[in-house]
Structures are given as C-alpha cells and as structure tokens.
C-alpha cells in the first residue's frame, strides 16, 4: 500500500501509525453506497424480475466468500461449491427431514455446518499448495457429490428435493409469487455479511492475510501463525458460502446435487475474476454481469452461453488480469493524468 497515506501521521509511534493506516482504509467512500442504491432501485424498476434478482444477490454473496480466500488470502480453490452445496442441503434437510421450517435459523445452522466442514477440510488441505491443492479441493467437492448420490434416499440424488416449504420470514412476511420478499431477504443477508467481510479485510487480521498472499516466507519469518490464519479465513469463507447455498435452497424451494458441480465452482471463480478479485466490490460487478449474460444467452442457446463464459475468461486473463474494476481504475488513472500534466 502507498506509504503516502501514513506520512501525515509522522511523529506518532509505529502502533499509532498502523492504526491510522487501517482506519483510513476502513473509512467509507461515497461510491460504496452505489451498489446498495442500485440494488434497492432494481427492486422498484424491475418488480417482475425479483426471483432472478434474488439469485443474483446470492451469487454475489457466494462470490464475496470466494473473494475472502482467493482475493485476500491467495488460496486457489477449485472446490468452493462444496460449502455452497453443504449449506444448500443443510437448509433443505432441516425443513424436509427435521421439520424445521424457520428460514433465518436455517441460515445460521447452514453457516455452522459449512464452517465446521471448512475448518476440518481447511486444517488438512491448506498445508498443500499448487496442483496438489487444486486437485484436493476439486476431489473433495466431487466426493461430497458422490456421497450425496450414494445416500439418494436422504438427498434425492440428481433428481433433487423439490417443493420445500418454509415458514414466513420473521413470522410475518409470506413469500409472494414474484419473489419480492425473497429479494429483500437476500439483500438484507448480503448487506449484513458484506459489512462483516469488509470489517474483516480491513482489520489487522485482513492485513496478515494480504501478507501471506504476497510473501508467505516473510510472514513465517516474522512469526505469524500462517496456517491458523489461513484455516480461520477458510472457515469464515465456508460459512458465508454455506449461507449463500442455504439462500439458494430457500429462495428456489428446491435443491439438487448439481450445486456440487464443477460448473458451480468454476462459475463463481469466473464471476469474481471478471469483476476483480481482492477488492470486495468485484463480486458485485462480476456476479451481476455473469448472471445477466447467462440469463440472456441461455435463452438463445446454452452453447452460446458456455462459449461466452470461456471467451470472457480468456479475454480477462489476457487483457484485464485485475478484472473490470481493475480496468476501470486504470482508465481513471489515465483520465486523471490527462487533466494534470
């Protein structure tokens, strides 16, 4: 980070300077209100597309959880759908087999289940890196899918579990046909968890994650408990992905083993990379563009959509490695330089 942010604090001791630096970063910018204003505006502008809107919001949440581990901690995983799927099935099985139909407590239980899985798998898997880690994360997710298929009687297998019921939100708001309640529900959950993630990444803990991402050897050298930090952030990200999965089940009222598909893990990766990893709002831009394109192109032909995803990925990697937000930043810099010679 730029040293100039801190120079104002000359004369204070190191601890105060560090605090001032973190506080500066944590301050809200005016532009940060924009996505939320747009999300609320979408509620009034597209009242008949709210079922789709809630799907976009939960994918934003899913991409945000991946941003925590990929963008901030630098963990490359090909199996993030594992936690999404665990959350989705927890929410489904709670209502179907457990008779627990209250949605918000369902989210919390889903988060807890995914967090336990994240902690357990992270504790084992995060000792590995490179191809081994990629293969292990990928294999874990497929194993979960195979397990789900093995216990077809409970999980419904690839046919899934349709027609799940939930009690009205907060005991008052019943789900309408157009998904208005679902949209506001997903938006509220996203807002709460986004604030949590934002606090985490700008905290000293978030700083150590950036340190691990940039230079593991040095973090080891200054005595940072690297493995513990990675497992912690992996657990938090798993919990959030679990909430996104539970939201998926609750808003769609069904779930299938497709949630564990490689396409789901790859899709969320594409969203995040497209928007820009490691910058919080990348998840918003990427997920919205991805979902809208998917909605539009899939109707024309599924092949067009798949081709477009592939092309987007190739173009992003070749020409915009920091995502669309990175591109926008570069453009702004050019613009600013033009004004001030």
């Amino acid at each position: 980070m730029a040293a100039s942010d801190v120079t104002a604090a000359v004369g204070l001791d190191a601890r105060d300077r560090a605090r001032a630096f973190l506080a500066t970063r944590h301050r809200f910018g005016i532009f940060e209100a924009l996505p939320w204003v747009l999300a609320v505006a979408a509620f009034f502008v597209f009242p008949d597309r709210m079922a789709f809107g809630s799907q976009v919001l939960l994918m934003v949440l899913f991409a945000l959880s991946l941003d925590l581990i990929l963008g901030f901690a630098g963990i490359v995983s090909l199996g993030h759908a594992a936690f999404f799927g665990l959350g989705a099935y927890t929410a489904a099985l709670l209502t179907l087999r457990g008779g627990w139909e209250e949605p918000i407590s369902g989210l919390i239980v889903a988060a807890a289940v995914a967090a336990v899985a994240g902690a357990a798998s992270g504790w084992i898997l995060l000792r590995y890196r490179g191809l081994t880690l990629l293969v292990l994360t990928l294999a874990t997710t497929i194993m979960l899918q195979e397990l789900g298929n093995l216990w077809r009687d409970v999980t419904g297998g690839y046919d899934g579990l349709p027609g799940l019921t939930f009690t009205p939100l907060l005991g008052h708001f019943d789900y309408d046909l157009y998904g208005h309640v679902n949209y506001l529900y997903a938006l509220a959950v996203l807002f709460v968890l986004f604030m949590a993630v934002r606090t985490i990444v700008y905290s000293p803990f978030g700083q150590t994650l950036a340190g691990i991402r940039e230079n593991v050897a040095r973090m080891h050298a200054i005595g940072s408990p690297v493995h513990l930090r990675l497992v912690t952030v992996y657990t938090i990200a798993a919990a959030i992905a679990g909430v996104a999965g539970a939201l998926f089940t609750q808003t769609n009222q069904y779930v299938t083993l497709g949630v564990f598909d490689f396409d789901n893990s790859a899709g969320v990766l594409v969203m995040l990379i497209l928007g820009g990893a490691g910058r919080l709002y990348g998840a918003f831009i990427g997920a919205v563009i991805y979902m809208v394109l998917q909605d539009y192109l899939s109707k024309v032909s599924p092949q067009y959509w798949q081709f477009a995803v592939g092309l987007l990925l190739v173009l992003t990697v070749m020409f915009a490695r920091r995502g669309l937000l990175g591109l926008a930043e570069d453009a702004m810099k050019l613009f600013a330089r033009g004004k001030r010679p």
């Binding site: 490359v76 081994t132 292990l136 990766l269 081709f307 592939g310 990697v317 070749m318």
Partner: protein, 290 residues
C-alpha cells in the same frame, strides 16, 4: 476357475484397459506440467477434439480406424502448437490462477463449439470386425477391443520409456524437469522442448480420446468430465514422472473398476478416496520430488 478368481481377473483386466486410457491421455499432461509447472485444464479438450476427429474421419471420409487414430495424433498434436504459441506461451510466468482460468476458458469454448457442431448426445463409431468380438486367452474370453487398448497402451509405454530413457531429447526433458534453470544454463532450449512435448502430449491425448469412443461413448462434456481423473493421475503419479504416471494410472484405474464391481453405488467414490489418501500422505505424488 473359481468365481472369486474370475471376478479378480475381470477387475484386473477391465481396470488395466481403463488404466491404459488414463495413462495415454495423462502422460503428456504430466510431462508438460513437470517441465513448465503449467496447469493445463484444457488437456481434456484436446482428448475430446481428438475423439471427434476420429469420428469425423471414419464417418465422413471413410478413413479406416487405425489410420484415423494416426491422423488424430498428428493433426491435434500440430494444432495444439498454435494454442501453445498464441495462449500458453504468454502465461508461463503468470500465476497458477491465471493459467487455471485461461485453460478453463479454452475448455469451455471447446465444449461449446463441439456441442454446436456435433450436438450434446453421445456418439459412437463402427469398429473393424476383428476388434468387436471376443478373444480367447488362457481358457477365458476377453472383449477384443479392451485387449487392443491394453496392447496400444503397452506399446506406447515401451516407446515413451525408450524415448525418455534412451534418446538425447529424453535426457534433455528429464534434465529440464529436474532443474529447469540448470538445463537452460547448459544450453538446452527449454521453451522449444516444451513446445515439442506439448505437441506430443496433446497428440497422445487425442489418441486417447479416439480410443475412448468405444469405451465410454463420446460427448463434448468429455473435456471436463474426465479431466478430474487426468489431474488425479498426474498429481498422484508425481509431475513429470513417466513411471509415476503409469503407476498412478494403473492404481486408480484398477481401484475404480474394483469399486464399481464390488459396490456399484459407491463406484465413483473410491477413486477419489484413494487418490486423496495418497496425496495427503505424499503431496508431491508417488514419484514426484518434494
């Protein structure tokens, strides 16, 4: 022969045929990853493309099966060089994530293109009659096509072993896998070596794809469906190791087949469990270097 022995022979035979397919496709991936550390998730797409080329050659151009296999090896191998030069070469020094993303993107585009041309349904070919029957070996009958796949696998293993261990180029490849910088500093052109192995590896993947048509049926999603198994074989075997790739292919192929024979429901599960167990104990694979 007792019933148990019968089942064991069947498992070993089926498993070996599957293992040979895995080996033929994965060996190129293993060597290119070992050379450049390049994570190539589009490798399965080359296998898929190879399968469709065999299909088209046989159906539309009346090319015989063996000639079609040779053709797919040469054509896909040559075409892969274009991809390597245009896309891969730019990302040798990039992060693993960038390589993963680029190659997933290429695989998706390939699947979409082939679905557009051939449709999503599984395709099959008409094999020459001597490959379709049964063959008697030691008072037992085996499906001829699987015997053929095992024979091709064995022949390729021998050829690759010779090329690796006894030729000048093989020695250069081994040197570069061992220590790329050192190999470069003594004048080995590793970039060119990589292009060469990439082409041969992709050609072999295409050959494997052609062989797989009659084993599993060919769909465009072949490109990612089997990719997981190729990656498992490469990771379990150890990057850049011929011996490791072969050992991993046989181990995983036989375990997978055994799982499906013994308990059909858990079939898909066992191969992952075995692979994960090995990787947890030996992260660099059976014959990889830590």
């Amino acid at each position: 022969m007792s019933a148990t022995a019968n089942i064991i022979v069947s498992i070993l035979f089926e498993g070996l045929a599957y293992a040979m397919f895995l080996f033929i496709v994965s060996v190129g991936l293993s060597v290119t990853m070992g050379l450049m550390g390049f994570v190539n998730l589009a490798h399965g797409a080359f296998a898929m493309a190879g399968g469709y080329l065999v299909l088209t050659a046989m159906r539309s151009w009346d090319v015989p099966f063996f000639a079609a296999l040779a053709l797919t090896f040469v054509v896909v191998g040559a075409a892969s060089v274009v991809f390597e030069r245009v896309f891969y070469a730019r990302l040798y020094k990039a992060t693993e994530l960038d390589q993963v993303l680029l190659t997933i993107g290429l695989a998706f585009m390939a699947i979409a293109t082939y679905t557009y041309i051939y449709g999503p349904r599984p395709q099959s070919i008409v094999l020459p009659s001597y490959l379709t029957g049964q063959i008697d070996i030691a008072s037992r009958t085996f499906p001829a096509y699987r015997v053929f796949v095992i024979a091709v696998g064995a022949a390729l293993t021998a050829a690759l072993w010779y090329a690796f261990e006894r030729t000048n180029i093989g020695a250069k490849i081994r040197a570069a896998v061992d220590n790329r910088r050192m190999a470069q500093s003594i004048g080995i052109d590793v970039d060119r070596l990589f292009t060469l192995t990439f082409a041969v590896g992709s050609g072999l993947a295409a050959l494997g794809g052609g062989l797989a048509i009659d084993l599993f049926g060919l769909t465009p999603s072949f490109a990612v469906l089997y990719l997981v198994f190729f990656l498992l074989v490469v990771a379990v075997g150890g990057l850049g190791s011929l011996k490791g790739t072969l050992a991993a292919a046989i181990l995983l192929g036989v375990c997978d087949t055994a799982g499906k024979y013994i308990y059909a429901g858990a079939g898909g599960f066992i191969i992952y469990a075995v692979a994960m167990l090995i990787l947890l104990i030996k992260p660099a694979g059976l014959y990889g270097r830590e």
